[in-house]
């Protein structure tokens, strides 16, 4: 395992080293003394295993492709924003806008996530072990958001074709978001995601939410909802 100490070398050097890592040799990196610094391990393209030993600041693991990043602490705003593929795991809590605009891959937050988790998600799968705050999955286009705890107000506002599973209570649903039937196929998909995320939860206790598809085309009866 390669250890990189952010108290001893600047962040740019870390990210450059991660981008330049040779195709062979040790593929496991450990980043110590992150101290809430922003932009740790962003823009990864290689299939490295990166462990952040502490709390990360904003945008950790942003734009990730192929790498498996584990944050052994809390994460600041926009963790794994625009993730393309690979996996980002937060052992603690995540701040606002976790996995924002994510296009693919898996983001696991073992604790709680703040407001706007999965905002404008475009294909990423997100599994939150705890709860999410208001306006999560706002404008969510594709992918799956799994919330094992509760969801705050205005869940799934203006949602497109993303799917939301919630195990606990929902504060309120946003415009055009409705509860939908939980079929065996949906339960199977949820069980698969929980297993991938390594989170122990009873899939039968979850409810499914998605788009009522009333805001797709302008209709004067819905003018008040736009």
């Amino acid at each position: 395992m390669i250890t990189f100490d952010l108290d001893r070398a600047p962040l740019r050097e870390l990210n450059q080293s991660l981008h330049d890592a040779a195709g062979e040799g040790d593929r496991r990196w450990r980043i110590v003394n992150p101290r809430g610094r922003h932009n740790i391990a962003v823009g990864m393209t290689q299939a490295l295993e990166v462990e952040v030993a502490g709390h990360a600041g904003y945008y950790c693991g942003g734009m990730n492709q192929n790498a498996a990043i584990t944050i052994c602490g809390h994460a600041g705003q926009g963790v794994a924003e625009n993730i393309i593929s690979g996996r980002v795991r937060v052992k603690g809590n995540a701040s606002q806008s976790a996995a924002a605009s994510g296009r693919g891959g898996l983001v696991v937050i073992e604790g709680d996530a703040g407001a706007r988790c999965g905002i404008s998600m475009k294909g990423v799968d997100i599994v939150v072990g705890g709860s999410v705050d208001h306006m999560s999955a706002f404008l969510a286009q594709a992918g799956t958001l799994v919330v094992c705890g509760d969801a705050g107000p205005d869940l799934g506002d203006s949602i497109y074709e993303a799917v939301i599973f919630v195990g606990g209570q929902v504060g309120s649903l946003g415009a055009d978001c409705i509860e939908k039937e939980m079929t065996a196929a949906h339960r199977g998909k949820l069980e698969g995601l929980l297993a991938q995320a390594g989170i122990d939860a009873d899939a039968s206790a979850f409810r499914r939410f998605g788009s009522a598809r009333k805001l797709y085309n302008f209709h004067v009866d819905h003018a008040g909802e736009y």
């Binding site: 101290r35 809430g36 610094r37 922003h38 502490g54 709390h55 600041g57 904003y58 602490g73 809390h74 600041g76 705003q77 809590n93 701040s95 606002q96 703040g114 407001a115 705050d133 208001h134």
Partner: protein
Amino acid sequence: MCGIAGIFFKDGQGNRPVGHALVDMLDGCQHRGPDSTGFALYGAGDDHLVLRFLVGEGPEREAAIERIRSILSDFAATPVEERLTGVTWRVTVAFAGDIQAFAYALERGAKLLSVGRRLDIIKDCGTARDVDRVYGISGINGTHGIGHVRLATESDVRPEAAHPFWATGFADVAIVHNGQITNYWKMRRALEQRDFEFRTENDSELIAVYLADQLRSGASLNAALERAVEDLDGTFSFLVATGDGLGCAKDKLAAKPMVMMETDELVAIASEEVSLNRLFPGRQLNTSEPPPGSFATWSRSILP
């Protein structure tokens, strides 16, 4: 953008390293605001009133001080101790009258940065380290304090436009704010109709005066903040300090960041975790993020 930081030592001893902590915390988030830096520092205080004015450095300085002296004499406020530092003049006076009328009058002499028995606001252009070098912030001890690094967006880069803002007319109330209040003029007019005077066009001054007005009417800091979250429209994460307390509030959309950390000894709040990390080097902190639309207050448990 802008960055805010606050620290509150719960034991109320006036010898805690408040200045040092704030310089460190603001240096940690200087990337959020490189233009100017300010500190509202609270000490143990005594019966005297501490006034700090912006007097400049050039030939205008002596004239400003003369104008202030004349107003002080009109109010029978006798200077006890005075000191010129950087672009400011700090004077302590013995005064027992109406602070609001006194402050409004003094503002005609020179820009008044703060008035308080415990509070002293120091702010200037430059970084936290720059301001520390000129004003010796690191050496100032006290009970609590708040600070701000500014990225000017809607007014000039001048010391008077920097934070913290004193609640003009109310001793010992100060604020640092990250965000923008969109119903500023509506709220300001409502207060002006009640004869409050505003000395800047900065929305943060409004929050300070609005809160101080409620405190004077007998509301607790907690109750004042509860109302503020309802009344203020816009984006905000702000810290407010009084002679013996600290409060924080966040707008309902949580558009502006705020992270906090509390131990048995202290409460530290900042825009970003990087600032909190400066206080506890080498430790893994368990920080938390106040939820949208929330507020909290702390006050001294032991009164000296």
